[in-house]
């Protein structure tokens, strides 16, 4: 096989419309004479003993490299039964057997094997990509460490530049970790943005929203470049340390909410008690409806009131109801 070469005009020009000044690169593959037991190919015979591959734009170098590799390795000779041979044999010998259920089953089996092969080939690329990504991250980390150690040798300017590259890629700079906790620059900016976006919605909703409500609201507003739940949570964790006017709170049950700094859930409990007392008893759904809150947050407030000893519960087949805690207030 000859290396890629620029072939002049004449017999090798594949298209009539080819511009005269420049021709595409070609790879010529010389073929051995056929062996006697070879099955039929796409052509019965040909006057040429070679095939030419034409590369209109590029790709010839990579292709040449891979083709030489394959021809050296001759992997096709190691495979137990090559795909094409199987099909051919099946066609010849199976002309008798390709009928009936056995034939159908065999065809299904061949198809299944083909699909399997395609899938594993596709995933080969993905796993190669993941390996590369891992390498990249390792590389960035090692550079970051080197910077940390060699503080004196690298100029401050370069250091700052490199640090900002790292941060923009989402890798926390080890030097600033102490100042901002484990947040990255991105999360910091995001936290500030959230404080701005959420001020008005929070005020509308009585100063408190569940994190899922926040997630929906923010992503709906963004339209594109949606936030992942993880990024949202990480940004919210930084709200307090950045001294922003909103904060992240977690209830005993694990429910996460965003509150205005001015919001005081314990004060809200006192008003919840009043509401429940007025109505005698309330379920979380009834309370939510009365006050205009989401059922999730209504339940959390009632549970907090119970924890503080203001309410007690009635848990029956009819559901969970909260009553004023007469056990404590009623004299014997």
């Amino acid at each position: 096989m000859s290396p890629p070469s620029r072939v002049g005009q004449g017999r090798c020009r594949p298209r009539a419309m080819h511009p005269p000044a420049r021709t595409s690169a070609k790879i010529v593959v010389h073929l051995h004479p056929t062996s006697s037991n070879k099955d039929l190919g796409p052509f019965q015979s040909s006057i040429y003993s070679y095939i030419k591959l034409s590369f209109k734009e590029h790709g010839q170098i990579e292709f040449y490299r891979r083709l030489s590799e394959e021809i050296t390795q001759r992997r096709w000779e190691n495979m137990p039964v090559s795909q094409s041979l199987q099909i051919n044999k099946g066609a010849q010998a199976g002309r008798i057997r390709a009928v009936g259920i056995v034939g159908i089953e065999r065809k299904l089996e061949e198809k299944r094997k083909e699909t399997d092969k395609n899938i594993s080939e596709a995933f080969e690329d993905l796993s190669k990509l993941m390996e590369k990504a891992k390498e990249m991250v390792e590389l960035s980390k090692s550079i970051a460490n080197k910077i940390k150690e060699k503080q004196g040798d690298i100029t401050e300017d370069e250091t700052i530049r490199f640090k900002s590259y790292l941060l923009s890629m989402g890798i926390a700079n080890p030097v600033t970790r102490e100042t901002y906790g484990s947040g990255t620059h991105y999360h910091m900016q995001l936290a500030k943005q959230l404080a701005g976006i959420l001020q008005a919605p929070l005020e509308e909703r009585g100063g408190i929203m569940s994190l899922t409500e926040v997630y929906c609201l923010v992503n709906r507003a963004r339209g594109l470049e949606l936030l992942s739940p993880e990024d949202l949570v990480n940004a919210c964790k930084m709200l307090v340390s950045l001294k922003l006017p909103i904060r992240l709170c977690v209830f005993d049950s694990g429910v996460m909410v965003i509150e205005l700094q001015s919001h005081n859930e314990e004060e809200m409990v006192a008003s919840a008690l009043e509401t429940v007392s007025e109505k005698g008893s309330l379920t979380a759904e009834e309370f939510a409806k009365l006050v205009g809150m989401s059922v999730l947050l209504a339940k959390e407030r009632l549970l907090l009131a119970e924890k503080m000893g203001h309410l007690c519960r009635d848990d029956s087949v009819e559901g969970l109801r909260f009553y004023p805690n007469l056990f404590m207030t009623q004299s014997e």
């Binding site: 119970e306 007690c312 009635d314 056990f327």
Partner: protein
């Protein structure tokens, strides 16, 4: 039960074991007191757990609420810790409620004995609780099993000795 039920009996949360610790304390205290009154007034001292579950004590049909089995067990255990309840079998399927603790009964009986100058005398168990002499006493008509425990408590204090007589058991007071 002829006397009135306490206010808690008509309060639905009474039939749910409260998760708040302070609230639960109050609730259990109320349950213990109710069980004791119920047993005293209905003159029912021993019960099986199954009976108890269906009795008006733990099942308020009008309110459509009943105390679940696990919570009943908690209440019974509270009573046992206070000395007002004794399990009658290993499987904890039936129990004896003593609305007054045996030691308290013993004290009452001994007080009566002393007051009437009856130390160093012997009584049959029947005489003690069913005789004319004790008609006005609180311990008149006391269930025998509880009487026995009361006397055993006094025996511990060396104030009595339980003896076997021809037609049953008796007790000597010192």
């Amino acid at each position: 039960m002829s006397a009135e039920w306490p206010w808690q009996y008509s309060f639905p949360p009474f039939f749910t074991l409260q998760p708040n610790v302070d609230t639960r304390q109050k609730q259990l205290a109320a349950w213990c007191s109710l069980v004791l009154s119920y047993c005293r007034l209905s003159k029912q001292c021993s019960m099986t757990v199954m009976e108890a579950q269906d009795s008006p004590l733990f099942h308020n049909r009008k309110l459509q609420r009943k105390l679940p089995m696990e919570s009943i067990q908690v209440v019974l255990e509270e009573l046992r810790k206070k000395g007002n309840l004794e399990w009658l079998d290993k499987n904890k399927s039936s129990f004896l409620v003593m609305w007054r603790r045996p030691e308290e009964w013993g004290k009452l009986i001994y007080q009566w004995v002393v007051k009437n100058g009856l130390t160093n005398s012997v009584f049959t168990l029947y005489e003690l609780v069913n005789g004319d002499d004790t008609e006005n006493e609180e311990f008149h008509g006391l269930d025998e099993s509880i009487l026995l425990r009361a006397l055993q408590a006094l025996q511990q204090e060396h104030k009595t000795e339980i003896i076997t007589l021809d037609d049953g058991r008796g007790v000597k007071f010192f």
